[in-house]
Symmetry: C2
Subunit: 219 residues, 2 copies
DNA sequence: GTCTATAGATTGATAGAC
DNA sequence: GTCTATCAATCTATAGAC
């Protein structure tokens, strides 16, 4: 609910251009996440970044340019996180690590996930090109990999596409619907133990659901 | 992309007050879903409902009152849909029907689901009371039911809470992220067959994931 | 680079003729 | 009940002093 960066004070002259831009991006991410593109105002972002509103237009040409950079930043994180998916030997390890990593990102990058959800819900007016090229390529590649697992008899026959959507949906839910989850948790954020339990449950159900045995499972 | 109601023409005098209010609500739902509360404008809703902007304020006191009615309408549908959850004999039937019904609602009430997602992502500024009372009660009741299934040895031990979130997340994803799913589907909406396949895959993974055998399953 | 002041457009809401 | 005209507030964006 306060500063995102702590090194140099907001007013300090020792702050580099890069640091200021990063502070603006962090605040913008939170505001765009909570109010959507149309609901967010440059004034609110400026207030949170402790800058005059005009300075935002000095560092970022327009509201839309700023928004685009926020969305692009998230998209990059998502893609990198997804790489751990294919650097593993077995389906069990690959899927477990991918799910665990995505759950972790839902905890550490809640606002980024919400901005993405907002953008997609609105029909991806800004980043449609990413959906059509980068995300599509990534998805096709992963689908082929899962199909090879199935052909090799390692995984029960399921349509890989619906499996991927299930993983995305379930993990991102913990970021996008964090407020609902916390309300149903008595108004408190999930504890470390609860995050571990949720991750384990999600991994367990999905892996068993496609015929795999989770690592370190009893029955 | 056009009219939601077709019976009497928008301009017609034969339209009852109820019909007009319903047409406004339908249009408002779509606009709020696609742009969020702050991003939506009364002007756009009026245009889509083919009414002068001032008339909206005649039928609904304010933008927020209109929004609240839209959200309440969705919430009611969700709760009623969820009733089918407990009117079944076995866990297999109860969960299969619940998941299938929620998938169906994601297809028929896409915009409603998005409005709900938007509201929750923004911290439920309007309907927090529903989260704290109605949804919480519903959730607690279902958790107790699932715990009895587990105690009876019908279901593999999992934390019911994470299982419920998984079902919500996965089914609602097909509404909230419909645009992304359609883009990855070559820009086309899912066909009847694809909806059936997705529903079956989701049911199959979740049921097997908690130790149940889906109805009419081969292996 | 930073800020104040403000332009120009758009917003939610309303007054008042019909 | 319906509509035009308009208000006051707020928005994005910019001009220009420092």
């Amino acid at each position: 609910m306060d500063e995102t960066q702590s090194a140099p004070k907001p007013g300090s002259r020792s702050e580099s251009r890069e640091e200021i831009e990063r502070r603006i991006l962090d605040c913008a991410e939170r505001v765009f996440a909570e109010r959507g593109f149309g609901g967010a105002t440059m004034q609110l972002i400026a207030d949170q970044a402790e800058l005059p509103k005009a300075n935002l237009h000095y560092y970022f040409e327009s509201k839309e340019k700023l928004y685009r950079q926020v969305v692009e930043r998230i998209f990059t994180i998502w893609l990198e996180a997804a790489d751990s998916f294919e650097t593993s030997a077995s389906p069990e390890v690959a899927l477990s690590r991918y799910i665990a990593r995505k759950m972790e990102l839902s905890r550490t990058h809640r606002y980024g996930s919400k901005v993405w959800a907002n953008e997609v819900m609105q029909g991806a007016p800004i980043i449609q090109d990413y959906l059509e090229v980068t995300l599509r390529d990534w998805t096709e590649t992963r689908i082929e990999l899962i199909e090879r697992w199935i052909a090799a008899g390692l995984v029960r026959p399921v349509e890989p596409r619906w499996l991927l959507y299930m993983i995305w949906a379930t993990t991102q839910h913990y970021a996008d619907f964090a407020h609902q989850i916390e309300t149903l948790n008595g108004g408190r954020a999930l504890s470390d133990a609860q995050w571990r339990a949720a991750t384990e449950t999600v991994c367990g159900i999905i892996l068993r659901g496609i015929g795999l045995q989770p690592e370190g499972a009893g029955a």
